[in-house]
């Protein structure tokens, strides 16, 4: 067993067989108090941490991931079901809780990695969950071998049955009890060959779709607890500001309001490891009473150290910063010499705004703290982080903190931060009651860990044959490496500029530098963090070079990528970047959009490609202007993410990523004035609606035998540049600032 803890797997078995010996069932209680009842069953039918077999031969598989819409509640159990040879149509999936425990070797997680970030769920599961399924299958076959007195390797399995050489089929259910008493093999079990796959690679629908469409799926925000009060916060609108005066007389008169008190914010400049902002908590019987209480508060604020910050000032600061030296992120050859020798140098600046995550389900938390334990229910991306935050604030040991994971109404990186968990704990401690904390949409938009703001300055040096001889990428940005405890260990351009991204390794002279900007805005990862952030600049600029040098924009990219080969890639998604795979998605995308065909009627076509977290994607759009609006006539997304586990899920991620990309590129920006975020609703942070979107996203996933990468984030970085390039082709207006629509309309 690779990543999974073998001792854990075995101890379950031993308890199970122990139970058999003494004829008691202590195993059920000892088995795992955190396992939901549905998955608990009898220890005698549980094979490891993920699999239970019911008497009717239905297989119950535990899903360990944070389901934020990326489909892991379906795709991760598929990996187990494949190697277990379970009948997928009869599998029932149950969400597992957070599996932290303190074992003989110290801290461990009985389920392996459970967070959702960096598109790693499938790559992790590929390593350990298949093995978990294979071990469970091995135990069942071994049980059948003992029963039939046949050698293990003469038996086969199919659709939740072990098959005798004479064709007799025995349901797993009849073998489960015996299997639970067998020790797993000491060595990893051999996994299936791809040609044996029956589940992997076959389209599987969302396992809990029925619960979703009937309104019965439980999201974090849907959890209630007897005795809990509902809290909302009035947070200081000024970054790092604090409460000056409070008049809560009217608020306390609202029926149902129980208490009003101040919650302090973090010390300005300190690491963000608790809550995000100071404010006043209103604690009430229900959400409505709490909200009314909040509206009735009269609070004045001390604006704090960032009172002067504004988007305009930040822009000026960025331009100023670029005049300095910055910090080198990567330097190849001699860019200064290339500039001197150049026949021609092209330069352009691109700007990307702060972005909010705006998860459809806003942050929320339900927490109950007792002297010796705590229970948390809520939507998360980092249950480990939540557990740590709760432990730090309560002094409880992490194994005394139960975290129930739920379906989450979107993540996009917002829930990698656990500030709202901390806030709920702080309120619950003061209130002395279990607390259900609710954030409203304006809370969410005004208090986020925003995708960084950045100004990119790109230069290209060309020789007399218009060959690209050098490439410089200077980026001035509000780094994501900000107010975090382990700041020193992280690269300066974190979340903004990746050393080995395109076109690193493809041009002889390269200069990549980062210029850090001071800002009071909290920053954090936003879906495909640095990739959405800089691919817009790089892939737009490549398009500009193509136009300026009268080359075909696809051919120029292919020429740069050159022969198919692997280049070193240090960042997340490495260790290698395969130029051939990027060329292949680009070529396929160009074919699909009929790149070479001339358009009339004011239509234009744009294309872009990018490598993100081990996956390759290209986008192409055909657009035209319709008054002030952009019409997208065709939208193509081509991806190579290695072997596909669930084609339906990957299609959803690519189409969804593309739409997220369109909505964000066209419409969205968070701006600051007087040290306050200016957006506060879907009115001024206008997530795209149906009418703005293409009717179809044509998703093409290239078949691949390679190890799978994830799919959650690859479908977005190349969207904004492909759209900007299409807009240029349609209008000859080069938009170098996001969001595109506002800037385009300003320029048209």
């Amino acid at each position: 067993m690779t990543n999974l803890n073998r001792r854990q797997f075995i101890s379950v078995m031993l308890t199970a067989s122990g139970a058999l010996l003494v004829g008691l069932r202590p195993a059920v209680a000892a088995f795992q108090p955190k396992v939901p009842i549905d998955l608990l069953g009898e220890a005698l039918t549980s094979l490891g941490a993920f699999v239970r077999i019911e008497r009717n031969n239905r297989i119950v598989i535990g899903a360990r991931g944070c389901e934020i819409g990326q489909g892991v509640i379906t795709s991760l159990p598929m990996l187990i079901a494949e190697e277990l040879d379970a009948d997928w149509n009869r599998v029932r999936v149950e969400q597992l809780p957070y599996g932290y425990e303190i074992g003989p070797d110290g801290e461990t997680n009985r389920y392996g990695p459970q967070g959702a970030g960096g598109s790693t769920s499938i790559t992790d599961g590929w390593k350990d969950l298949r093995q978990a399924g294979a071990v469970a299958r091995w135990l069942l076959v071994e049980a059948a071998a003992q029963h039939w007195q046949l050698p293990h390797d003469r038996l086969a399995t199919e659709a939740s049955h072990v098959v005798h050489p004479d064709g007799t089929r025995m349901p797993y259910a009849e073998l489960a009890e015996r299997a639970a008493g067998i020790l797993p093999p000491p060595e990893p079990v051999a996994l299936k060959k791809p040609e044996q796959y029956r589940v992997i690679g076959k389209p599987a629908k969302t396992v809990d779709a029925r619960a979703i469409v009937t309104g019965r799926a439980s999201f974090g925000i849907d959890a209630y607890m007897g005795g809990a009060l509902t809290a909302v916060m009035l947070r200081c609108p000024h970054m790092d500001g604090s409460v000056d005066t409070i008049d809560d007389t009217q608020a306390r008169k609202i029926p149902g309001v129980r208490d009003v008190f101040v919650i302090d914010g973090p010390v300005p400049g300190s690491a963000f490891d608790t809550n995000l902002a100071a404010g006043v908590a209103v604690v009430a019987d229900d959400t409505w009473a709490a909200l009314k209480g909040r509206s009735a508060l009269k609070v004045t604020w001390k604006p704090g150290p960032w009172a002067q910050e504004s988007s305009a000032a930040l822009e000026a600061k960025a331009a100023e910063a670029l005049k300095g030296d910055g910090v080198s992120v990567r330097s190849d050859g001699d860019m200064a010499a290339a500039r001197k020798a150049a026949k021609r140098t092209l330069e352009a600046r691109y700007q990307v705004p702060f972005l909010a995550h705006a998860t459809m389900e806003p942050p929320h938390a339900l927490i109950k703290i007792e002297p010796d334990r705590a229970l948390f229910i809520g939507s998360l991306q980092s249950p480990g982080g939540a557990s740590t935050v709760i432990a730090n604030l309560t002094g409880l040991s992490r194994d005394k903190i139960e975290i129930r994971m739920t379906r989450a109404g979107g993540g996009f990186g917002r829930r990698l931060e656990n500030d709202y968990v901390a806030e709920a704990v702080m309120i619950a401690k003061k209130a002395g009651k279990p607390i259900k904390l609710m954030w409203t949409r304006d809370d969410d938009l005004r208090h986020d860990f925003y995708r960084p703001y950045g100004l990119h300055q790109l230069s290209a040096t060309l020789d007399r044959k218009n060959q690209l001889t050098g490439f410089a990428h200077l980026c001035a940005a509000t780094s994501m490496n900000y107010r975090i405890a382990r700041k020193k260990e992280r690269p300066p351009g974190q979340g903004c500029l990746e050393a080995d991204d395109f076109p690193a390794g493809l041009v002889p002279n390269l200069d990549k530098r980062f210029f850090s900007l001071e800002s009071g805005m909290p920053r954090g990862p936003w879906r495909a963090p640095l990739h959405t952030f800089h691919a817009f600049a790089v892939q737009s600029f490549i398009d500009e070079i193509a136009y300026e040098t009268k080359q075909d924009a696809v051919e120029l990219r292919l020429k740069l990528l050159g022969e198919a080969r692997e280049l070193d890639y240090q960042g997340h998604g490495g260790p290698k970047f395969d130029t051939g795979r990027l060329a292949a998605v680009l070529t396929r995308c160009a074919e699909a959009i009929e790149w070479k065909r001339r358009r009339s009627d004011g239509r234009g076509v744009g294309i872009a490609c990018h490598f993100t977290f081990g996956g390759y994607a290209a986008h192409a759009f055909e657009v035209s202007m319709d008054g002030r609006d952009l019409r997208i006539h065709r939208a193509i997304c081509v991806a190579d993410i290695g072997r596909v586990v669930n084609p339906l899920g990957v299609d959803a991620m690519m189409a969804g990523g593309t739409i997220d990309g369109i909505s964000t590129a066209l419409n969205l920006a968070i701006t600051v004035k007087d040290g306050q975020v200016q957006q506060s609703s879907f009115g001024d942070y206008a997530i795209g609606r149906m009418a703005q979107m293409p009717h179809e996203i044509e998703v093409i996933v290239l078949p691949s035998e390679r190890e799978p990468s994830g799919a959650g984030e690859m479908g977005i970085p190349s969207v904004a540049p492909a759209l900007a390039n299409a807009i240029y082709a349609a209008t000859t207006v080069r938009v170098r600032r996001l969001p595109l629509l506002a800037e385009l309309n300003r320029r048209l």
Binding site: T206, V213, G215, T359, M360, A655, G657, T658, M690, A691
Partner: protein, 183 residues
């Protein structure tokens, strides 16, 4: 607080005077004695624990809270309880008949629409309403669905609307056939 909201057997005449508010939700009658300005959304969620209707914005912009009031799609975050006396409400929990899903729900499963799923109750309620108003909605009609989906499921919603039409047509044909066979 919740005790006052016990189910009662049948709906008396709609009250116009201040006082308890009685309304029918998914076929059952409820009496609300709490804050009259409480939006229906919070009554459904916090009081009745019917959590299928979701909070997304509270100001009518996202549609996650869509329910039917006397058969028409409405954003429940904007509806104070005081305006609902005697009204008939259907939520996402109430559109299936027993185990038989509504055609729109079934279509949503068939087309595998949900990603995070949070907006989908509202999307389904809005679509059921659309199909009541337009028996054969055009692409432009479908574009009039204004419910937000942060995950970008719009193309599959489009397909699912068409799938629902097909399912409804099939059900109708089957019904007619059965009626014919009877006569």
């Amino acid at each position: 607080m919740p005790q006052a909201n016990a189910k009662i057997d049948k709906a008396p005449a709609a009250a116009v005077v201040p006082g308890p508010i009685e309304l029918t939700i998914n076929g059952e009658t409820f009496r609300h004695t709490g804050a009259p300005d409480m939006p229906l959304l919070w009554y459904l969620r916090d009081v009745l624990r019917l959590t299928g209707s979701k909070y997304g914005c509270g100001v009518g912009q996202c549609g996650a809270c869509t329910v039917h009031v006397d058969g028409k799609a409405q954003r429940s975050c904007l509806l104070p309880m005081s305006a609902l006396s005697g009204q008939t409400i259907t939520t996402i929990e109430g559109i299936a008949s027993g185990d038989d899903l509504h055609a729109v729900q079934q279509a949503w499963i068939d087309e595998d629409v949900p990603q995070c799923g949070y907006c989908q109750a509202g999307q389904i309620m809005a679509t059921v309403d659309l199909l009541k108003r337009k028996a054969q909605p055009s692409d432009a009609d479908i574009s009039q669905l204004t419910n937000l989906c942060r995950c970008g499921t719009y193309p599959r919603i489009r397909k699912a609307v068409k799938r629902a039409l097909q399912l409804m047509a099939e059900a109708k044909a089957a019904e007619e056939k059965a009626a014919e066979a009877k006569s």
